[in-house]
Symmetry: C2
Subunit: 107 residues, 2 copies
DNA sequence: TCTACAATTCGACATGTTTCGAATTGTAAT
DNA sequence: ATTACAATTCGAAACATGTCGAATTGTAGA
């Protein structure tokens, strides 16, 4: 029988928790380059930007931003890599695909 | 111009917060009748059940369950209606569609 | 090596969340 | 009315989260 429900429950809950804070959701939204549901806008915008770029858009302390980025990263939603003095953030496409699939199977 | 990002941010964050708790996510999963991502399983299962039905599957105090149901309800994810002594819960299809759309527009 | 810039870690505080048991409300049957 | 069942509300305790400023680490250039 085995409960197929409980297997990914904690993992998925962690992903949703990462998206449950308005600032983190905004970061996620900036990085996906997406605006309104139903629209594919800003297709030509950058899909990766450094921590400072995000900092200038968010009106929170940079230490707070750091904290949020770590949460998104630990949830597997974003990737971060250093380039010189800066650290660039981008969406982790496989996690995004996973969450998308999660919803597309529900009615 | 105008920031199209911030409009639904708080609302969507509230929805994700509702899904960020393993127990609430399990309730949501039970009510969608869905199991694993990528599969459309248990198509013939009930998509609505009463609070007691959920209670028997969750090993938490019924007062805690009540609390979680209220959160899901306030986030717009589920609907609840009394039938005699029982209260039946079901997925709110429009919110589910909204969240699904949210992800299907991101790359 | 000094300096400046980019970003993180640390400590502290206020606030919010999860959980329970006990008491309460609402509904229906005896 | 009384009883029994279904579910919620309440109050309290333990725990987690969001936020900041100050101090720290890491990187590159003068």
């Amino acid at each position: 029988m085995s409960n197929c429900r409980t297997i990914n429950l904690d993992r998925h809950a962690r992903i949703f928790k990462a998206l449950s804070n308005p600032h983190r959701l905004e970061i996620f939204t900036i990085l996906t380059g997406c605006c309104e549901p139903g629209t594919l806008c800003s297709t030509d915008k950058m899909l990766s930007c450094c921590v400072g770029d995000l900092d200038s858009q968010l009106s929170i302390a940079s230490s707070t931003l750091s904290h949020h980025l770590k949460e998104l990263n630990h949830a597997g939603l974003i990737e971060m890599q250093r380039e010189g003095k800066q650290i660039f953030c981008s969406i982790n496409p496989s996690t995004l695909a996973e969450v998308t699939a999660l919803f597309s199977t529900r009615r």
